[in-house]
Structure formats: C-alpha cells, structure tokens
C-alpha cells in the first residue's frame, strides 16, 4: 500500500478535454493512482462543477491476485490467480467483439506497475489504473472453491449524495454506490435468466472502495461439487457471455454521479505538496 493511496486525494475527473468524448482507446495506463494529491484553490463561486466524464465503451477488468499472491487454493492443481486471469481473457475477447475497449490491470501472472519495471503492483495501483480509464464498469474478478455458481458483490460503503471536489481515497466508491447497485441488480437478473446459481451481496474487498466507476466484485465458484469444475471452459464461457451481454445494455444506462459544489470554506484547502504528502485518512 502506497502512502499516495492513503492520502486524501482529489477527484480524478479533472480529465483532459480529449477524454470528455468517448475515445476509441482508453487513457494510457498510469504509473500511479489516477487521483492526485489535493491542491485546490478557493472557488471563485459555488457553481456546480461539470459532470464526470464516462467512457461508455471502456470496461476495466481486474483479475485479482497474481505473482507471489496466488489467492485461494481452488484444488490441488488450481490456484485462484490463474482462474481469474483465464476468465478475464475470456471476457476481454467477448467484450472486444462487442465494441468495447477493455483495460486490464494485469495480462500476465505477475502484475507490474506500468513505466516502473520491476515494481510490484499494489491494490491502490490497480485502482489507479481503473480510475484513469473513466470506465462504464469496473469488474474485480475473484474465484473461490467454496459455494457454487457466481457470487456478486458491490462495496459495503453507504451511498453519498454526490462526488465531492475532494474525494477520500478509501471511500471514493461512495458516490458511485447507486450506479454499482443498479449494475449489480441488472447483472443478477442476467445470471438468473442464464440459469446460473447466484449469490448477491455487499463486501469490503480492496480496492473496490477506491474505485470511481460502477464497480462489482465477481467471484467465480465451481459449477458443482467438484472444485475443478471451475476450470470448465463451457462453464466459464457461460459466465463470461452473461456478463458481456449485460454490459452491452449497461453502457447506455450508466450515469455519472452528481458533483457536489465546493463549499465556500474551501479556502482552507491551500495545500502545499508537503501537506498533501503527509495527509492521512
């Protein structure tokens, strides 16, 4: 966990103008979290900021774990990190075929920080990549040997009224909770139509609380009693098809949260770089 990630951060929507229209390619993967340290001047008037831009054709996939972090032991021969990566590749193919641009936080066993070869990627780095993409949906992929079917979770944070000018890194998802809940409901309905067993709930799994996009944790469990059935290609394909199909309709429904106007007392936020670096949640 980086100190950067723990600092209170500014909302990342101060995107370059080019990102305000849906680009054909996502923003370049960053080497640090999207949100940058607080450095705000006092607002000249309490006008409501512009809406947060969303790239409706961009989906972020985060295959959890990787490298020395194997995740859970699914069976004698299967570990979680391999299952999540396989499902992510399958999803990427299906989403790309449907016109999406897919941003993945890792494409190999060991995740690495972009532009910083050899550096291990933290969970905050993954959130930074996702936040830079301004995606229509962010899916954190997990796998487990317990239970069966698909487990779907959104963040346990309570919904906030809107996205403030300065967003706490650890609760950045709060403004997106209504959208995440809506996506979870529609995804659950899609799984139900597909005949896949589903458990939908809330969970606190890092880095979902730091994501500034409609975000869900999708945990793949075995299809039956045999834990190795989680590797079944037909089963994974059914799950991926269901998710990809639902995201096609979701891209036209996603709405950014309202942005809250900066309070007049924001003059106190004349942060210096050292202030921002030393900020604690």
């Amino acid at each position: 966990m980086t100190t950067m990630g723990r600092a209170q951060v500014a909302e990342p929507a101060a995107a370059p103008p080019a990102q305000k229209s849906a680009p054909s390619r996502p923003a370049t993967a960053p080497s640090k979290p999207a949100a940058t340290p607080v450095r705000h001047a006092a607002p000249s008037s309490p006008s409501v900021p512009a809406p947060i831009p969303i790239n409706r054709t961009v989906i972020v996939l985060d295959p959890a774990h990787g490298g020395v972090d194997s995740g859970s032991q699914i069976s004698d021969t299967t570990v979680e990190k391999n299952v999540t990566l396989a499902l992510a590749f399958r999803l990427r193919s299906l989403l790309t075929a449907r016109g999406f641009t897919v941003v993945m936080t890792r494409e190999a066993d060991a995740p690495a920080v972009p532009n910083a070869a050899g550096s291990a990627m933290t969970l905050d780095d993954r959130a930074g990549i996702a936040n830079h993409a301004h995606a229509a949906a962010c899916l954190v992929l997990h796998a487990t040997p317990s239970g069966s079917g698909v487990h779907l979770y959104r963040s346990e944070l309570g919904a906030s009224e809107g996205q403030p000018t300065v967003v706490p890194w650890l609760t950045a998802q709060a403004a997106w909770i209504p959208q995440s809940q809506l996506l979870a409901n529609q995804m659950a309905a899609a799984f139900s139509r597909s005949g896949l067993a589903l458990i939908a709930s809330n969970a606190s799994v890092r880095p979902i609380d730091s994501l500034t996009c409609p975000a869900l944790v999708v945990e793949l469990a075995p299809s039956g009693d045999d834990a190795d059935s989680i590797n079944d290609t037909d089963y994974q394909q059914r799950v991926a098809l269901t998710i990809a199909g639902e995201l096609v309709s979701w891209q036209n429904q996603v709405q950014p949260p309202a942005r809250l106007a900066a309070a007049p007392s924001a003059t106190v936020v004349q942060a210096t770089p050292s202030d921002a670096a030393g900020a604690q949640p």
């Binding site: 966990m1 809940q181 606190s204």
Partner: protein
C-alpha cells in the same frame, strides 16, 4: 550370635526409617493444607462465567446460500463486557468448528482479546459521575484534552468501538474467498450487535497488528459498523439506503 556393631547399625537404620516416615507424613499434611488454601481463595479466571446460562443470539452464516440467520443459544457469559464480547465470538467460532457446519472454520481459539473503547476515540474519557450514566448503564464520555477535529463519533451516548484481536493461527487457517471471509466478518458483527448493542463500530487486529485482509480478500483495515447483518436486516438497510 549378633555382633554388637551389627546391632548398632540395625537400630540406626530403624531410627532413620521412622524419621523419614514422620517427615513424609508432615510434608503430606503441609501439601494438603496448601491445596485447601488455594481452594478457599477465588482463583477462577476473570472471564469465566459466574452467572446462570442466558439466551444469546448468534448470527450464523451459511456458505450454501450466502445468508446469515439468527440462532438462539443458552450460554453462560461473564459479566465483564470485554470478556463477554470475547466469549460470544469464541462460542460463535466454536459453532462453525462443529462437524456439518454450514460455514466450516478450523477449530481452536480465534480471539486473543476484545477491547471495548468508548467513542469518540481521541481525547475523551468516560464520565464516572452518576448523572452521566445513561439508560442501560452506559456512561457518557467527556473531553479531557484538545479534541481531534474529526474524531470517530458515537451515534448514541455510550457508544463503543470494539477492537477484536484475532489469533494468527485462526486467521492463517481461515478458508480463502470473498464470500467465506465476508460471512465470517458479518457473522461476528451481527452477533456483537445483537448481544452488545453499545458496540457501534468494530476494528480487527491479528496478533495485535493491523493486517490487510482476513485470508486474502476481506478488508481488515477498515472500521466496520456493528449492524444487523442477517439477511432480513441487510435487506431492510439496503432498502433504506436506496
């Protein structure tokens, strides 16, 4: 004919045997007196139950459908709230270690200690005056130093933060997965909420240290609200938030 020196040796041995017998009897009596003295003192552990069994609610998790359902148990609990919270969690984890449990966890001690801290956290202490005692016997807090500008506030007077220090042996053997880890935490939160309503928030430590996750997934760094985590309670709270 027995010689004189042989008779002297014989009687010396007899005297030694009798002397040792007397010494043995005396030491035995002293040992009995020490044991009796220990038995007379109150040497029971602090968290041993001293009251009759009472009905408590355990929020039990089910891996099959991801649900949490309340279940009543008759359990003798200690009076001290800290020990009471620890005993509740120990009984909860013991239920999961039973054969056929719907949320199987490894047997053994899970909790090293539970600390109940009055809210708000910084620069406050409990007010021991009788006028500060609220309904239910909970005591209000008063500032004793320059207060934190943004402290964790209590929702009700007497609200407390429970800091649960888990054993690393339990955490290291805990099954890994979002669902199974979340159910364990929600089960603990719900059980504390149902039986110790003054607990408003919960934090977890492992062997006294902060740890990122329970078994690779569920966040252990955040502060959890102690709320009704049963399926019906969660649905109701979601309905309110939406």
């Amino acid at each position: 004919m027995i010689q004189r020196h042989q008779r002297i040796v014989f009687w010396c041995l007899v005297v030694c045997i009798v002397g040792m017998g007397v010494l043995l009897a005396v030491e035995r009596q002293r040992g009995r007196q020490r044991i009796a003295a220990l038995a007379d003192d109150d040497q029971t552990p602090l968290d041993a139950p001293t009251a009759m069994a009472e009905t408590v609610t355990l929020d039990l998790a089910n891996d099959g459908d991801g649900s949490i359902a309340p279940a009543s148990r008759q359990i003798a609990l200690p009076e001290d709230p800290n020990a009471r919270a620890r005993a509740l969690i120990d009984h909860l984890i013991a239920e999961y270690a039973l054969p056929g449990s719907a949320h199987a966890l490894p047997p053994g001690a899970a909790v090293a200690e539970v600390f109940l801290v009055p809210l708000p956290l910084v620069g406050y202490t409990t007010d021991s005056t009788s006028s500060a005692t609220k309904d239910g016997g909970f005591r209000a807090t008063v500032p004793v130093a320059q207060s934190d500008p943004d402290p964790v506030q209590a929702k009700q007077p007497g609200g407390e933060l429970a800091v649960i220090d888990l054993h690393s042996t339990f955490v290291n053997q805990h099954p890994s997965g979002v669902e199974v880890e979340s159910l364990t935490l929600r089960s603990i939160l719900g059980t504390l909420h149902a039986n110790l309503p003054q607990i408003e928030q919960v934090r977890f430590l492992v062997d006294g240290q902060a740890r990122e996750t329970l078994a690779g997934h569920a966040d252990l760094l955040r502060t959890y609200p102690a709320v009704d985590t049963t399926s019906s309670g969660s649905a109701a709270s979601q309905g309110r938030s939406n």
